[in-house]
Structure formats: C-alpha cells, structure tokens
C-alpha cells in the first residue's frame, strides 16, 4: 500500500467527517444494546445494585405460571400477520389507483396521506371513540344499516383486527413509496406488452409487479420490523393506569409487555431480557427476508436478467 501524506490526510478527514455518525451510533445504539444485553442477565431494578442471575430472566418467561408472555407473543404474531399484508396490499392498491389519470388526483393523494401526519396517539384516541361499542359513530352506522354491532376493541377476538383496520387507514407512507416506484417503471415495457396484445392484468403481473418488487420487499420488511415494535395503539386504546393490553391480555403487544415488565413491575432486568429476545427475533426475521428475497425480488440491472 502506498501511503502518501495526502492519503493519510484524506483518511483522517474522512474519519472526522464520519465521526458524528459513528459516535452517535456507538453511544446511542451499540452502547445501549450492550448494556441491555448485560442487564438482561441481572435482577436490575432502578436504584438497586444488580445481581447476576444468568439466564433466569429468560427462563422465567417460558416457565412461569403467569402465561402473559405467551399471550403477548400470540397477540404480536397475529398483529404482524394481519397488519403487514393488509397494509401492503391496500397501499399498493391505492398507489395503483392514484397512478392513473383520474380527476382530483392531487386531492385524493393528499387526503389519503393526511392520516400519517396526525400524531399516532391523537388518532388512536379518536379511533377509540369511533369504535366505542355503545355510543360510537361506527356502531351507530352499523346499527342503522341493521347489522349486528361488533365489540371492536372490547372483545378478545376483534381487538387486534380493529387495530389492523386502523393501520390500513394509516398506510399513506407506503402508498407514497409505491407511487414513486410505479412512476419509475419504464413506459416502454408497457408499450412492448401492448404491441404483443397484453391487457391490463398482464401489465400488472408481468411488468408492474416485477418492477416494483424491490419496493414491496422493502415495505414488507420494514413493515414487519415496525409491527413487531408497535406500542402506541394498545398503550392508548386498550390500557389504562392499571392494566395493559386488554381485554384479558389479548392486545398486550410485545413492546407493551416490555414496558409493563419495566415500569409496572419494576423488573428492568426482565424487561431487558424481553428486549433482547425481540432484537433476536427481528434480526432473524430480517435475515430470512433477505435470504428468500433473492428468488422473489427482481432488480433491474442486477445480476439476474
């Protein structure tokens, strides 16, 4: 390696320019992750001096007579499995519609994006009122139409689907990403298909879907990561100062479980262990996505042709 002073100076400058990010990452990400990992092996509570417990915190989740850990895992799994596909499908569909030449297109785009701008806590409160089974607007309409009024957030069976319904209303962000992707699909591909006699369905399946598959991959992956960390909805809509994620723990999403462990039960060691488990699951899931994406995602100009 030839090492001129210019190269050294440039390397130094590079490190200096990159240092805010590196420092920030080390202090605010790597450090806390490491601390969490260590604390997860202790009985740390605030102010107490931590005692080393080994894997006791982890063991407790799986063997305790209190089954709320499993309830929480179940709720989170259901939430992810429903929310992510529903949100991706709806936002993709909306993007397709808004990508056509319709009247008032700008207005529709703005209106459908608007919910994202509202703070989630605020919209959660509003949805909670709308869904109130006795006096809420939604059930007023349902009853007026002569249908049986569901319990929405108040029933174990419908609480998660209700939150997913609200998420679908919040898909403006991925809709915009899809719109951008759709506008990046080269016109000549559609024209080529038209020349070959393809219809709208063929265009969707043979051109649009493959061309936006990296975007679908991106939204699904980030969607899963976000859904696994969902907190605000159940914290606002189905928790109060006394119990979290009701009814009967059916909406005790995992991060709410961590929160409860830490701040209701003052078991910060246990909460750290739960957080480490979540980290492992997210890391594993993301790895799986990338692993399987190779056969499902088409990158124009990539290795595969």
């Amino acid at each position: 390696m030839p090492s001129s002073s210019i190269q050294r100076r440039e390397a130094a400058a590079g490190w200096i320019f990159a240092s805010p990010v590196i420092l920030g990452w080390v202090i605010f990400v790597a450090g806390p992750v490491l601390v969490t990992l260590i604390l997860s092996l202790t009985d740390y509570t605030v102010g107490g001096s931590p005692r080393l417990l080994g894997l006791e915190n982890y063991r407790r989740f799986f063997t305790s007579a209190d089954t709320s850990f499993f309830a929480s895992v179940r709720a989170t799994a259901l939430y992810c499995m429903l929310s992510v596909p529903a949100c991706v499908a709806v936002s993709f569909g909306l993007a397709l519609l808004l990508n056509t030449r319709i009247r008032l297109r700008g207005l529709f785009r703005a209106a459908l994006f608007l919910p994202v701008v509202i703070p989630l806590a605020a919209s959660s409160v509003i949805w909670m009122w709308l869904f109130q089974p006795d006096f809420g607007v939604v059930n007023f309409v349902v009853r007026t139409l002569g249908m049986r009024a569901p319990q929405w957030l108040a029933s174990e069976r419908t609480v998660i689907p209700t939150m997913v319904l609200m998420n679908v209303w919040l898909t403006g962000n991925s809709m915009v990403i899809f719109l951008a992707a759709l506008q990046g699909v080269p016109r000549h591909l559609y024209e080529a298909l038209e020349v070959d006699g393809g219809n709208a369905f063929h265009k969707l399946v043979y051109v649009t879907l493959p061309m936006v598959s990296p975007t679908i991959f991106f939204t699904v992956t980030t969607g899963f990561i976000a859904a696994l960390q969902a907190f605000v909805q159940p914290a606002i809509m189905t928790s109060d100062a006394y119990h979290a994620g009701g009814p009967n723990n059916s909406s005790l999403l995992y991060v709410l479980f961590i929160y409860r462990e830490a701040f209701r039960f003052s078991k910060l060691g246990g909460a750290s262990a739960a957080a480490v488990l979540l980290f492992a699951v997210i890391a594993g899931l993301t790895w799986c996505f990338f692993r399987f994406s190779r056969s499902l995602v088409y990158y124009e100009g990539g290795d595969r042709t």
């Binding site: 709320s68 009122w129 006795d134 009967n248 750290s272």
Partner: protein, 448 residues
C-alpha cells in the same frame, strides 16, 4: 411505513444515561425542591398554586413537575435512574412498595416523632403506607372513598326515590338492581323491566363502574371476602364471599343489562361525563369525581353503596405521598410534604378532589365549614355518604397491605375481563387463575 417510536431503544438510552451520570451533585445556592405529581387539570392548577404559596412563605423554590398518570411510573423511574430523583411527591402504590424495599423513602413516623407541630395521632387512622408497625414509607395523598354517585334528573324523570346516603339505610342488592333496571332505558324509551326492552341499544344505563381493582374490591371487602387469605399466603378471591360479589357486578352487565361492559366503557372520557350526559344514571365510583361534577355544576347526589350479603361500607384509597431519602434538603422537603398533607391542600378539599388526611378537618366545625359544603362539589348527602363512611365504616384498600400488588393486579385484572364480558363466571375465572397467581403471592405487610 409509519414511524413508530422504538420504545426499547429509548428505554435503553435512559439506562445508559443513568449509569454514566454521576449521582453526587453539589448542593449550593438557594434551595430548590422538585415535587412530582399527577392529576387532572384542576389538580395541576391547585398543586402549582400550593407550591408557589409554600415557596413564598418558606423562602425556597419548589419546582412542581407534572407527569400524566399513565406514564407516571416510567417517568419517575427514568428520573431516579438518571440520578435526578425528585425530593418528594406522589408515587403509585405498586412502585412505592418496590422502592420501599430498597430503602428509598424517608420514614414518616420517624419524622413525625421529631416534629414540633404535628404528631401521628393528628391524622386519620389507616392512611399510612407501612411495611411494618413502625415504618411508614408514605402517607395517603388524600383520604378517598367509594360511593354511589347519581344524576338527580334521571331519578326525577323515572319517579324513583334517590339512593340513601346513610349507612344504616343502604339499599339491599335486590332493591338496587330493581332501581337500576328502571333507570336503564333503550333507544325506544323502554326501561329494562318492560317487555320489548332492547338490551343491545341502550341510551341510558342504570349504573356504571370501572374495571380496575377499586370498584370491585370494595364490594368484595364489604361482602367479607379478601384479596389474600388470612395468613397472606394464599389467593383469597376464590372464596365464595369474593366470587359472589364479583359475580353480582358481572350480572349487572350480562344478566340484567343495566350496566355497560366496563371494557367497552373505557372509551367514555370519564365517569363524571357519563353521569353528566346521562349515559348512566348512577356510578359506583370514588369521591374524586366530585371535582369534575362540581366544576360542571352538575345536578347530582351521593349515596352509600348498596349492600350485598353483609353491610355497605367503603375503602380508603389513595396514591402515596413520599419523601425520597436521597434528597439534599430533607428539612424543606418535609416541610412541603407536611404542608400538602394539611393546610396547603385546603383548595383541593374545597374543590372536591380530596378529603383531608388530618382529623381536625373533620372534627373542628370552623375547619369543616371551610371545605365540606354543602356546595357544588359537596352535595347534601356528602357528609353522610362520604365523611361518615370514611370515619366509621371504612377499611384500607388492598394496596395498603398486599405485597407485589402491581404484578398480582395485572393478573387478576386480565382474568376478570372474561367475567365482565360474560364468558366466564367469577368463580371459574378465579379458580383458573389460582394456580397461575399463587407463585407470585408474597404475603401481606404487617400494619399493626
């Protein structure tokens, strides 16, 4: 995808900050005391005013720090973790009991023994948060009690006599259910005793109660049940006296259709709003509701709770007021805490939020006249249904003596949800819960 705050990341950051920040700080300059508390907007104003008043008179600076109740434990925990603990303030019962185990609080009994102005006997019995006969890690922020609050117009319209306010006149449960049925009115104007009553479309419920431990535990205790067995080692809520009480409450919802499912009712802003707007005619609730009903000039009254197998009665219930041991200004923090447990809290007694912790406010006619009405927040029945009940027919609520309450409560609350929904009987739910909850039981505090 929408942004979600990664809570885990923020928590860990707090922990890290707590570990690197040095705990010791130089105590110089004018004395500043941090006082943490939660509460309604009215309570916030009143506490701010009381702190300002104290600051002026005592020559110290009190910084009142308001934290919403739902985030309270998280925020206070973060403050303590970051070496920035408050000097004094409110604490939730579950957190206070954990932190008391780590010796984080000043002993009120010790302070009172040294104090020149006040002694332990000046306070109402049963308001101390104790883990042993001679250690009180906190005092009840206020005396608070349960009763039956009702909209007077609803009774007038139905042509029914108002609920009794005196202990010895309390309704039997059957009488109470009958009244509640007549007060439950569907969209077509039919009440729950009439044929053709539509229980799926109710405009005004007869009665409502919240699903947290307060409203149901008062009936369990009145009925002779208890949270834990006598020796504190076993789960008490499987006892028939307890399950019968809980089942009767659930029957109000699912059998008689006179009460809303409390899980559904969570979206209603408050019990006060429900009474005011006549979404419900009666509410089994705590006396702090007087604040909102009084401020709204609602036309309401207070009765005693109906009795089940035994007597009516009430429970004393409160948050904990504590002084942190790490305070650099113990004398000032003590003076402030004393002030807020006595004269400084008078505006909060007057506006209906609290009842006094000191005996003199109940026994001295001049002082009594200052706060207990009759006025907008203290209707005519107040003295019988609240004051008399507190002084003569009350017991400490379960948070005063059950160890590991936060954990136990989370399990009981979850297990009761299917009971309120009518999917399980109280007996089934509690029997099912017993093997799960028993390993978490840590006993009772010895108060005497």
């Amino acid at each position: 995808m929408r942004r979600r705050c990664s809570l885990a990341a923020r928590m860990m950051l707090l922990l890290l900050v707590g570990i690197v920040q040095p705990h010791a700080r130089a105590a110089e300059g004018p004395v500043t005391i941090k006082y943490v508390y939660w509460g309604s907007p009215q309570e916030k104003l009143a506490i701010e005013k009381a702190c300002a008043e104290f600051s002026r008179n005592a020559g110290v600076t009190v910084v009142p720090i308001y934290i919403p109740e739902q985030d309270y434990d998280a925020k206070v925990t973060a403050m303590v973790a970051a070496g920035d603990a408050p000097d004094a303030g409110y604490c939730t019962a579950q957190l206070a009991s954990v932190w008391n185990g780590q010796g984080k609080f000043v002993n009120w009994f010790e302070m009172l023994a040294k104090d020149r102005d006040l002694k332990k006997g000046d306070f109402v019995d049963g308001i101390w948060f104790q883990n042993s006969p001679d250690n009180a890690y906190g005092i009840s922020t206020a005396v608070e009690a349960f009763g039956l609050f009702y909209n007077k117009a609803a009774f007038k319209d139905a042509g029914l006599p108002e609920p009794p306010a005196r202990f010895d006149k309390a309704w039997t449960w059957d009488e109470f259910v009958k009244v509640a049925q007549k007060l439950t009115i569907d969209r077509n104007g039919k009440n729950a005793t009439e044929p053709g009553f539509d229980s799926t479309a109710i405009k005004q419920f007869g009665v409502t109660f919240e699903s947290w431990w307060g409203p149901w535990s008062v009936h369990v205790l009145n009925n002779g049940g208890d949270y834990l067995t006598q020796d504190g080692k076993g789960f008490g809520l499987t006892d028939p006296a307890a399950t019968r009480a809980m089942q009767r409450l659930a029957d109000l919802i699912n059998k008689y259709h006179v009460a809303p499912n409390p899980i559904q009712f969570k979206a209603i802003p408050s019990q006060a709003a429900a009474i005011q707007a006549r979404l419900a005619a009666m509410s089994m609730h705590g006396q702090w509701i007087n604040l909102d009903l009084g401020a709204a000039k609602a036309n309401y009254g207070i009765g005693v709770l109906p009795k089940m197998d035994r007597n009516s009665g009430t429970i004393l219930i409160s948050g904990v007021s504590v002084i942190f041991k790490d305070t650099k200004h113990l004398a000032e923090a003590w003076a402030l805490s004393k002030y807020l447990a006595s004269d400084g809290a008078l505006p909060l007694y007057q506006n209906g939020l609290w009842m006094p912790t000191m005996k003199k406010f109940y026994t001295d006619p001049a002082l009594l006249a200052k706060w207990a009405g009759p006025d907008a927040a203290h209707p005519v029945g107040f003295k019988d249904s609240m004051m008399d009940m507190v002084l003569h027919h009350s017991r400490p609520s379960i948070t005063y003596y059950v160890k590991n309450f936060g954990k136990l409560d989370s399990m009981v609350s979850a297990a009761l949800d299917p009971v309120w929904q009518g999917k399980e009987t109280a007996e089934q739910a509690m029997k099912k819960l017993k093997p799960q909850i028993t390993p978490e039981i840590q006993g009772k505090y010895q108060l005497k």
